[in-house]
Point group: D2
Chain length 327, copies 4
C-alpha cells in the first residue's frame, strides 16, 4: 500500500498492560491527527478487534492520560486471533472501517500476530514494544520496564527497613517471567546480597555462605531478589531449601501486580511518547512492517521481523557488579 493511500490508522494494546502505554497511545493519536489521519482506538486488543469494539479518537480523547498507568484502550490475550480464520475476520473488519494501518503496542506474541496480519492480509503494521519484562529481541528497551523496576525498588527499600529492624533474610520475588532484566536491575539498585536469575541453577551453598558471611561482617539483614521464572512461587522453593539444607530462616515477599501499575516514570513517558510519534511517522513515510526500537540510547525504526523473538540474555558483568558491591 503506497504512502499516500493511508487515511486511517488503528491502535491497540495487546498482552499484559504496562505503565506508559497511555503515553504511547496519546502520541499516536495526536501525531496522527497532526498528520491529517483519522485514528481509531481498538478496545481490548485483538479480542476487541474481532468484536468490532472500535471508536474514533480525537485530540481530547487522550487528554490527561499520560500520567496514569494501565491503558485506556484496555488489553487482552486472544485465542481466536491466533488462527488464520481469526486474522481473516480481523482484516475484514479493519478494511470495512477503512483502517489501512495498525499500530500494536505489546510484546513479542502481539508482534507475531501483527506480522501474520501483515503477511496474510497486507495490513500495514507497526509494533511498539510494551511490556514490563524488557524481553523483546531487537530493542534495548520496552515500555514499562523502568516503572516496574521503580515500583519494585521502592518496595524492596521498604522491606529493607523491616529486614534491618529484625536482622532477617528476605527473599523478594519480582516479575519478568523468564526475563532476568527486572531482577538484575532491582538487585543492583537495592544492594541485594544475592540475585536468582530464571535461567540459572540455584547455588544454595553460595547463598547460604553469603548470608553467613554478611552476618559475620556485621550486616543487619540480607535480601535475595528472585526472578519469578515460568511461574510465580519460586521464592517459596528457595525458602524451603535454605531451611532444609542450611537451617536458615527467610521470609518471602512476592511483589506481584504492584509492579505493573502506577504513574509511569519520566523515562517511560518519554520513550513511549517518542515511540508513539515515531510509529505514526513510520506509516506516513511508507514503512510496511516495522517496529519502534530503542538502541544505543535512542528511539529508531527497525524491521518488525527483528523483534519477534523473546530475549532473555543478560550481561554477566552486571551480576559481577552486584556481587562486588554487596560485600
Amino acid at each position: 500500500m503506497s504512502k499516500s493511500s493511508i487515511k486511517n490508522i488503528g491502535v491497540l494494546c495487546s498482552g499484559g498492560d504496562s505503565p506508559g502505554m497511555n503515553c504511547a497511545i496519546r502520541a499516536v493519536v495526536r501525531t496522527a491527527i497532526g498528520e491529517g489521519l483519522g485514528v481509531y482506538g481498538i478496545q481490548k486488543g485483538y479480542e476487541g478487534l474481532l468484536e468490532n469494539n472500535i471508536r474514533e479518537l480525537n485530540v481530547s480523547s487522550v487528554g490527561n492520560i499520560l500520567q496514569h498507568g494501565g491503558t485506556i484502550l484496555q488489553t487482552s490475550r486472544s485465542k481466536e486471533f491466533r488462527t488464520p480464520e481469526g486474522r481473516k475476520k480481523a482484516a475484514d473488519i479493519l478494511k470495512k472501517r477503512q483502517i489501512d494501518a495498525l499500530i500494536v503496542i505489546g510484546g513479542d506474541g502481539s508482534f507475531n500476530g501483527a506480522m501474520a496480519l501483515h503477511q496474510e492480509h497486507g495490513i500495514v503494521v507497526v509494533g511498539i514494544p510494551g511490556t514490563i519484562d524488557n524481553d523483546i529481541s531487537g530493542t534495548d528497551y520496552t515500555i514499562g520496564f523502568d516503572t516496574a523496576v521503580q515500583n519494585a525498588v521502592e518496595a524492596v527499600d521498604k522491606i529493607r527497613d523491616t529486614a534491618n529492624s529484625h536482622a532477617r533474610t528476605f527473599i523478594v520475588e519480582v516479575m519478568g517471567r523468564k526475563s532476568p532484566a527486572i531482577a538484575l536491575k532491582v538487585g543492583i539498585c537495592t544492594g541485594a546480597e544475592n540475585v536468582v536469575l530464571p535461567t540459572a541453577t540455584i547455588d544454595y551453598q553460595k547463598i547460604a555462605g553469603d548470608i553467613d558471611r554478611g552476618i559475620k561482617r556485621g550486616k543487619t539483614s540480607s535480601i535475595i531478589i528472585a526472578a519469578e521464572g515460568e511461574e510465580a512461587g519460586i521464592g517459596y522453593t528457595i525458602q524451603k531449601n535454605l531451611k532444609d539444607q542450611f537451617h536458615l530462616d527467610a521470609h518471602v515477599c512476592i511483589l506481584g501486580h504492584i509492579q505493573r501499575g502506577g504513574n509511569p516514570t519520566p523515562t517511560d513517558r518519554l520513550i513511549a511518547s517518542q515511540m508513539g510519534h515515531s510509529a505514526v511517522k513510520a506509516i506516513t513515510s511508507g514503512q510496511n512492517a516495522s517496529a519502534t526500537v530503542y538502541v544505543n540510547g535512542k528511539v529508531s525504526l527497525a524491521p518488525l521481523a527483528d523483534c519477534l523473538r523473546k530475549k532473555n540474555e543478560f550481561d554477566v558483568s552486571e551480576v559481577e557488579l552486584l556481587t562486588s558491591l554487596s560485600i
Copy 2:
C-alpha cells in the same frame, strides 16, 4: 519508687517493627535529656535486654531518624523473657545499670511482658502502642497503622490500573492478623467492591453476586480486600472458592512486608512524637505502670492494665459505608 529517685530510663522496641517507632525513640531520648535523665537504648527488644545489649543514647544518637521506617533499636520476640526467670534476669541487668524505668514500644504481648516486669520486680514501666495492626485495647491508635494503610492503599491504586486494563477481579490480601482495621480502612479508601474481615464467615454468594452486578453496570474491574487473619494465604482460598463455586477468575496479591516499611506518614510521626514525649513525662510525674493512648483524637495517659488485651472489634457502619459507596 518515688518520682525524684529516677535517674536513668531505658527504651526498647518489641514485637513486629512499625513505621514511626524511630519518631517515638527520638522523642523519648530528647525529652528525657531535656528532663535531666540519662537514657539507654536497649537493642533487639527483651532479647537484647537479656543479652545486656545496651548503650547510652545522646541527643545526636537520634538525629535524622524520624523520617525513616523500621527502628534503630531493632526489635525481636523473646521466649526467655516470658519466663519468671527471664524477667528476674532482665530486672537484675536493669538494676545493675541503674535503669529505674523502662519504656516499651510494641504490641499487647510486649505490654504484658512489661506489666509482669513491673509487678514482679518494681520496675517503673510505660507502654507506647506500636504495631501496624491497630489492635490494642484502650487506645484508638497504634503507631504504624497510618503508614501501613498508606502503603497498602498505594499498592491497591497500582493494582487497580492493571485490573481496569484487563477487566479483572483482584483479591488483595493485607496484613493485620486477626485485626480488621487495615482491611477495612484500605477497602473504603480504594473503593474496593468487597472486604473480607478475619472474624466473619465468607459469603461467597454475595461476593460473586457483587462482581456480576458490577460487570453488568459497566465496571471495568473488581477488587476484594482480604484481611490475612491467623495466617497469610487466605487470598488463595477465596480465589479457589470463587473459581470452584462460580467459575469466576480472580488474581491474588499478597501485599506482605511492603506494608510495614517506608517513611512514616506525618500522622505516625506526630502521634509517635507526642507519645514518646508523653511517656517520659509520665515517668517524671511519678506514674508507675501506664501507657500512652490515643482517645477522642488526642494523646493521653491510661493505666497500662487497660491496654493488655487484643482488640479486634470494628464499626459495622464502616462496612455499610464501603458497601453503599462501591455500588
Copy 3:
C-alpha cells in the same frame, strides 16, 4: 421544606481545591442514588451555578475518581454570588431544576454563601469542610489537610538531604494563609529546628541563636518552617533579616501549589467519604442548615452556623513539643 419532599440534590465545590474533594463527591452521589434521590453536579462552584453549568450525575460518573486529587466538578470563587441579586438568580436556577438541597464542599467563605442562600431562599444546605488550611471553626479537620501536610513533609524530607549535604540552613514556606496548622504539623514531623507561625512576631534573635547552637552541637543543617500568612513571600523576609542582622545565609523554598495536589491520603479519603455520606443523610433526615464536622476523632453533624468563622488558634503545647524535640 419537609424531609419527604426532597427529590433532587445538587453538589458543588467552592474556593480553593483540596485533595479528597473527589471522594466526597463520590460519596454524595452514590449515597444519594442509594437513597433514591436525583443528584446534580454543579461545575465550577457558585460561578457555574449562576451559569446553569449543571448536569445529572449517575453511579458511573464518579467511578475511579476517589484516588485522584483536585475535583472533577472544578471550583472557583464568584463575586456575583456574594450579592443578594446573585443569590436570587442562583436560587431561581436551582428551583427551576427542582434541586431542593445543595451540598457545598469548601471553606468558611463558601459556607457563608450557603448560609445566605438558605436564609434568603429556603434552600436546604449542608456544608462539607474542604480546604487544606484546616481553619474552619466547629471542626477539628477539613478535607485536604492531611494530604497537604504529607506533600509538604515529603518535600522537606528531600530538602533535608541537600541541607545536610551542604551544611545549610533552609527556610521552607508552606501554605495555609493565616492558619498555623500546616506549618506546625510539618515542623514537628520533619524535625524542623524552628517554625514561624503567621500570627506571631518573628523572634530573629531566637532563630539565629538556635541555628548557632545547632552548629555547635554538631548538627549538619537547620530547617525553618514558615507559614505563608497573608501573602506568599515571608520566606524572603526572614532570609533577609537573618542575613542583615546576623550574617546568616539561608536558602528559601516556597513549596506552593505542590501542596494542594496529588492523590489524597487514606485519611482524607476516609473522612471525605464519611462526610459525603453523612451530608446526604443529613438531608434525608430533615436537617436544614448543617455541616459535617470532625470532632473527638469522629465525623458528626453540627449546625452550619457553628462553622462560619475562620479558626487560626493553635495548641501552644505543640510548639513546645517541636522545640523540645529539635534540640
Copy 4:
C-alpha cells in the same frame, strides 16, 4: 605514576549535591577494597581536603546509603582550591596521607579543579559526572538527572490537579541553570503546553496564542515549564509579561530544592554504581586523567579533557515532539 604503585585512593563530592552520589561513593569504596586498595573519604569537597577532613572508609561505612539522597561525604564549593597555592596545599595533604589517586564526583567546575591538580601535581584523577543539570560535555548523562526529573514531574502532576480544578495557567520553574535538559524532559513528560528554554528568546505571542487555542479546544488548564537560566525567578518575569501584554493570569511555582533530594531513582542508582566501579577500575588499570561517561546507552571511560566544558545544547526534535503532542 605507574599502576602498581597506587595503594590508596581518595574520593570526594564537589559542587551541588545530586541524588545518586551515595551510590557512586558506595561503589568506589567497595570496589577499591575488593581490589586491595585503601580508600579515604574526603568530607565537604575540596574545602574539606584543604582542611584535612579525611577519614578511612571500610565496607560498613557505606552500608545502607545507596537508597538515600544527598551525600554522606557532604559537598561544597571552594575558592581557595581555585588558586595554585590552594591546589599545592591539597596535593601536599594527599601525598602526606599517601593518597595517590583522587576520584571527584561533581560537575564541570569540579572536573577542571581535578584536571589542574593532576597537571600541576601528578595526582591520578578520575571524574564521575554528578549534577542534576546533565550539562557536562563528553557524556550523555550525569548522576542525579533522572531523580531530579522524577521529582519535578511528580510535582507538576500535582500542580496539574489544581490547574484542572481551577481552569488555570501555571508557570512552573525548574532547575538546571543554563541547561535545558530538565525543562525539556519535564515538559514532554507532563504534557506541558509550552516550555521556555534558557537560551531562547521568549515568544510571548506564541505562548499566549497556545493558551488561547487550548481554551478554545476545551482544555481545562495550561502548564508552561520554564528553565531557571542564570538565576531563579524567570517565572515571575513570564507571569508579568503575559499579564501586561495579553491580560492573561498565570500562577507561578518555583520547584527549587525539592528537585535535588529524595531517594535516587533506579536509573541513577545503576549508573552511579557502574560509574563508581568503573572509576576504580580506571585507576587500577593505569589511567591518569579520565572520566566515567555514559555514551550510546552504556558507561565507559573517556579522557577527562573531554568533559571540562558545560554543554547546553538540546535536540530541537524534542521541542517539536512536545509541541506536536500538546495540541
